[in-house]
């Protein structure tokens, strides 16, 4: 079903809803029971929730909403949703707003539900290693509260200011996904408000629980298209007494022209010397992941296709020295350089040494870029091939991400043109596809975006559509934000 909508309602337009037709319908009898007769804005105000006019900073992937609501409880969100149902308002939830530019622009957006005031940590049951929070709590404030009792949510969210709800809706995770999994693995309970205002809960406050469907999983990665997450319960982990990072540099790839290390242009299509990498980053990742020293994360940083690659592994626990040494030896052995212990926080420059310290490299867990950002997932055995595919395009791509889990983020310069980006995406997809790779465009400027297939082929699209149709039959929840216009 495709309801004709204007994509971008005029900012600040008040009582005029969407043309005279809609106005009539919404004022007609049965259009929301008790709210009949009120305009949408009046009805929203009548909920008692703070409502403000949308401003220029409120755009969702370039689409401007009309109003912004600031609810403080699940019930208030439900009231807003009931009004929105009665007045056919399209709703987009927003948390910290750090990833509003990710995903497709919504087809329409009347109301932005800002969860910033849903910011209470409701219950930290430290004895049970469980925390229950409202969705608008930022990961930083949560971390602070948990750290006071020696615990943490083992999810390294790559952006500052992100909220719990936003992290779940976009399913982002950081380096330690290797050891602890991602948001879906740590989420044990969730409260959501559906498009019609229904409040639903699944899971609970205990980690071990198989009663009923896990709605939390369904909503993870949903980009606000199924409903609004208002509360979440997570399992926690004790903060490790010690952390050590072991970092090594791998030589730059050989180029077609010279066959030498680290010089000149990135690998051309003619490069046929082994993997093209003097030391295979894929093999390093596989070896570290299989190490009984059990690193919690193994990250890669590659600033330019012609440059050196940096690999860093994190070991955390109570007895990290020996384990760090094992990782160091492994890295040293693979890179052909003996392990050297660097002073804490000092990273040797200009040599392919192995360094160790108790501070993370400054790039650790940071996205390689913001405006044009892609995510490449591939089975670990396909990492070299995928990196080669990126390098061959001749664009100044920056690659950073989880080497052992083989989830890599690729940043391209903000000025990358639409055609250029589309070409990059389709070529990398074509080359990494046979390796089991999957490339998703997380963020791209709205201008070139229409030329780019952000999601690539998604086999589950028909099933996702059916879920969407059941949860949001009127397509009012972040319509069009996901693959296939969901």
């Amino acid at each position: 079903m495709d309801v004709p909508h204007e994509n971008t309602p005029r900012p600040g337009a008040e009582e005029v809803l969407r043309g005279p037709g809609a106005e009539e319908v919404l004022r007609g009898p049965g259009a929301g029971g008790a709210m009949g007769g009120l305009s949408a804005k009046e009805a929203l105000r009548a909920t008692g929730v703070t409502i403000r006019e949308a401003g220029s900073g409120d755009a969702v992937a370039g689409v401007m909403p009309r109003w912004v609501a600031l609810p403080e409880s699940t019930e208030e969100v439900a009231a807003l949703m009931r009004v929105s149902a009665g007045h056919d308002l399209a709703v987009v939830p927003v948390g910290g707003g750090t990833r509003l530019h990710w995903g497709n622009p919504p087809e329409r957006c009347d109301l932005l539900v800002d969860t910033c005031c849903l910011n209470e940590i409701l219950e930290h049951a430290s004895g049970d290693l469980v925390v229950r929070v409202q969705a608008g709590v930022t990961t930083e404030s949560l971390a602070e509260t948990l750290a006071a009792r020696g615990q943490e949510l083992a999810l390294d969210v790559p952006l500052g200011g992100a909220t719990v709800g936003g992290v779940l809706a976009t399913a982002v995770a950081g380096p330690r996904r290797l050891r602890y999994g991602t948001a879906r693995d740590l989420l044990i309970g969730v409260t959501v408000v559906l498009a019609d205002g229904t409040v639903a809960r699944s899971g609970g406050k205990v980690v071990k629980n198989v009663a009923g469907y896990d709605l939390g999983k369904l909503f993870t990665g949903s980009y606000g298209t199924l409903g609004i997450i208002t509360e979440a319960v997570f399992r926690l982990h004790p903060i490790a007494p010690a952390r050590r990072w072991i970092t090594a540099e791998l030589p730059a790839p050989r180029t077609a022209a010279t066959g030498s290390e680290g010089s000149g242009s990135p690998m051309g299509p003619g490069t046929v010397e082994g993997s093209g990498f003097p030391v295979s980053p894929g093999a390093v990742g596989v070896a570290l992941a299989a190490s009984q020293a059990e690193p919690s994360a193994v990250e890669l940083d590659w600033l330019a296709p012609s440059g050196v690659l940096t690999v860093s592994a994190l070991v955390e626990g109570a007895a990290t020295e020996g384990r760090a040494a094992a990782v160091r030896d492994l890295l040293g052995g693979m890179t052909g350089r003996p392990g050297t212990t660097g002073e804490s926080g000092e990273w040797p420059v200009g040599s392919y040494g192995v360094a160790e310290g108790d501070k993370a490299p400054d790039w650790w867990g940071v996205l390689p870029g913001e405006e044009v950002l892609l995510e490449l997932r591939v089975p670990p055995s396909g990492v070299d091939g995928a990196l080669r595919a990126v390098a061959r395009r001749g664009l100044p791509a920056r690659v950073r991400g989880s080497l052992a889990s083989a989830v890599l983020r690729i940043a391209l310069p903000p000025e990358t043109g639409g055609a250029e980006l589309a070409g990059f995406v389709s070529a990398v997809r074509e080359e990494s596809g046979p390796l089991g790779g999957r490339l998703t465009v997380l963020a791209a400027p709205h201008e070139p975006a229409p030329q780019v297939d952000r999601w690539g082929p998604v086999g589950t699209l028909p099933l996702m559509r059916r879920v969407k149709e059941r949860f949001d039959p009127d397509r009012r929840m972040s319509p069009g934000r996901l693959a296939g216009g969901i």
Binding site: D88, V206, K208, N209, G221, E294, T460, L463, M464
Partner: protein, 482 residues
Amino acid sequence: MTLDELVRRVAGVLPPGAVITDPVRLRTYECDGLTHHRVVPGAVVLPESAEQIAAVVRLCNEYGVPFVARGAGTGLSGGALPRTDGVLIVTSKMRRILQVDLENRRAVVEPGVTNLAITEAVREHGYYYAPDPSSQQVCTIGGNVAENSGGAHCLKYGFTVNHVLALEIVTPDGDVVTLDADDPGYDLLGAFVGSEGTLGITTKVTVRLSRAPQAVTTLLAAFENIEQGGQAVSAIIGGGIVPAAIEMMDALAIAAAEAAVACGYPAGAGAVLIVELDGPEAEVRRQFAEVERVCRDSGAFELRTAAEPEERAAIWRGRKSAFAAVGRISPAYIVQDGVVPRTALPQVLASIDRLSAEHGIRVANVFHAGDGNLHPLVLFDDAEPGAGERAELVSGRILDLCIEHGGSITGEHGVGVDKSRYMPKMFTDDDLDTMQLVRCAFDPRGLSNPGKVFPTPRLCGEVPGVRKGVHPLVESGRAEQF
């Protein structure tokens, strides 16, 4: 009859002998591991491929006949209970390990492969499949996916859902679809795992293989009473240690295990605690010292440690035999499965004690103490009039206790038919209606394992929630309802 005609056509798409209709044979499929629910299936089919399952499911759709999937039939909630008017699709012939890919730490297997067979296939290379339900040598991976099975070691390593990377499923309308953890959008893979066969049938599973830990050490601590044991558990977790497993047994459970397998646990123990630590050797050594200290401080009067596989097996033997062992001290029993927050364990155990005294029904407690997963064994004599009813009552009251303390009515056995009536106690109508939306998205005709999980499922045509009547846009002709 519809079913007869369906069976004839099903036989046409399956290998010879893969359809069972003989009544005597059919009856052997009347129940799974939970024997007090019995239904003789209308027909049993034993397909050998995803295509054959899809063909059967499509025929079931054509005739509007319900179908139920079954693996090894070891479930403890009646999740694979057949339908007289339906077809039981048994995956026990689909048990090939299709691929072992150590470099990518994964294996691809058919649904009828047993949980343990995966570990056995990779053990020599230093890998294993982490979830370890206690029936792991029998239960199939397809069943594990349906139930989101855990095991003693899920405290540290998580459940099936954390170890499945991709699934090939046959949807309730007969399409073969792959759900992959790397798919963008809704985590359908995560939603499917644990859906107890109501969202479709698993035909291929890609599991994550875990590297065997460098060291494993098991400790057996004997306490005078269960409170001391509980205190030790809290102190271990509170001390920032996440053991691979923490299991506890009370005096009655110890007595049963002793009678069955002569496990030789310390005499006079009111409770024993089994703590297993694994990981890098240095880490395990350090944590172990801490666990030992905590146990002593909590009043343990005897500690035994084991690092070699045989010694560890000796410690585990009593625990692993506990369920079947209570048969030696009681003619009949009910195995309950409920969860409470770990910190509520002492209170809940005290309440169970009171319940037990009040109703004159003995309860043996065996539990995964680390995650608050109780397995009270409610003992009774089925020859004694009224005892069965009293046991049922006590068993049900224990679930109420779990709900009251913010826990769950099932930690690993699933809801199945057995506990669907407790679902409304744990969830509101809105919660259940919302879950039903997922069901309707996958299975609008309600043919896939109907009657399980949800008490009285609505038809998918009924729209739950507050939105009643026709939407204004539809009424005005500006939009169409699906």
